[in-house]
């Protein structure tokens, strides 16, 4: 107990009371600060999500007919394993992509985009592309599964 409390000696020399040691008070302050910082930083650490599939209930506000979707899709992107990005089957640079995608999306009613990637592509690059498309105003990014088109052995 002597670690946490200091006995105060009175004028007559008798022990008067136990006061909390300065260390204990600062410990309380530090703890309180740590809890506050922790609670405040929780929102920064929370995970969020990018939809790759939605239920009908969440799409009910804008019902879509399958045929219309196919016709309406103006942006189809494929990321190749060698890093080349194809926009509507034509290789494009990142700058061209940033220029063309908003224009193409503007011509679309539903503003949906198709995205596919070779299985060897790093996941982070695919998420970056989904993020880019959403930032450019794409409604839904529809993920397609395609076979790798890169030639083996060069």
């Amino acid at each position: 107990m002597s670690i946490f409390f200091k006995k105060k000696r009175g004028e007559g020399g008798e022990m008067e009371a136990e006061l909390p040691a300065a260390g204990l008070i600062s410990l309380t302050d530090v703890n309180a600060s740590l809890v506050k910082i922790f609670v405040l930083t929780i929102p920064l650490a929370i995970e969020s999500g990018l939809f790759v599939s939605r239920s009908v209930a969440t799409r009910i506000r804008r019902p879509i007919v399958q045929k219309q979707v196919k016709k309406d899709v103006k942006v189809s992107i494929h990321i190749r394993a060698d890093g080349v990005i194809e926009l509507n089957k034509k290789p494009v640079t990142r700058e061209q992509l940033e220029d063309l995608v908003p224009k193409l999306l503007a011509r679309s009613i539903e503003k949906n985009a198709l995205l596919s990637a070779d299985p060897e592509v790093v996941y982070e690059d695919v998420v970056a592309m989904i993020d880019f498309l959403k930032q450019q105003g794409a409604g839904d990014v529809l993920i397609l599964k395609r076979k790798s088109r890169t030639k083996k052995g060069g």
């Binding site: 946490f4 409390f5 009175g10 008067e16 009371a17 136990e18 006061l19 909390p20 204990l24 008070i25 410990l27 309380t28 703890n31 309180a32 740590l34 809890v35 922790f38 609670v39 929780i42 920064l44 650490a45 929370i46 995970e47 969020s48 999500g49 990018l50 939809f51 790759v52 599939s53 939605r54 239920s55 009908v56 209930a57 969440t58 990321i79 990637a117 070779d118 299985p119 060897e120 592509v121 790093v122 996941y123 982070e124 690059d125 695919v126 998420v127 970056a128 989904i130 993020d131 959403k134 930032q135 993920i143 599964k145």
Partner: protein
């Protein structure tokens, strides 16, 4: 005087207790954060994104680690068993909601993949979730600053 001294002693004791409580709160928060907010304690480095669409509610989490291991919640499972486990969780969700079978597949499935894994591994996990007739699938990301 003795009475006052006793009072100060009680205050000191109270401060000591308060400090202990803070420490316990802190330890509890640190240990339970992952469970509370992610539904799993599998550690993966998530990619970052500017656009955020879904707040991850009570969900089924499928984690893909750097060494290509798959977890459903905290359980390590082989790839081809994921759909079976997800299906089971969907039925549990239905049972929790007064056996309303129209809710089957409505529980959010979160794919938590390490940013360094290949897309093929993530696609395989999405395939498994689709195989279990999951209607809502999302990729977990961390918001970019």
């Amino acid at each position: 005087m003795a009475r006052a001294g006793g009072g100060e002693g009680e205050i000191a004791q109270a401060i000591f207790n308060l400090a202990s409580v803070f420490i316990f709160i802190l330890i509890f928060l640190i240990l339970s954060t992952k469970e509370l907010f992610q539904g799993t304690s599998v550690d993966v480095e998530l990619p970052k994104a500017h656009v955020i669409e879904a707040d991850l509610e009570q969900s089924i989490s499928i984690s893909v680690t750097k060494d290509h291991k798959y977890y459903v919640g905290d359980s390590l499972v082989p790839l081809d068993l994921i759909s079976q486990l997800v299906r089971q969780k969907h039925w549990e969700y239905v049972a929790r909601n007064e056996n309303d079978s129209t809710l089957y597949g409505e529980q959010l499935v979160v794919i938590r993949a390490d940013k360094g894994v290949d897309w093929g591994s993530v696609l395989a996990a999405i395939d498994q979730a689709k195989k279990a007739r999951s209607k809502r699938i999302t990729l977990a990301v961390v918001k970019k600053d």
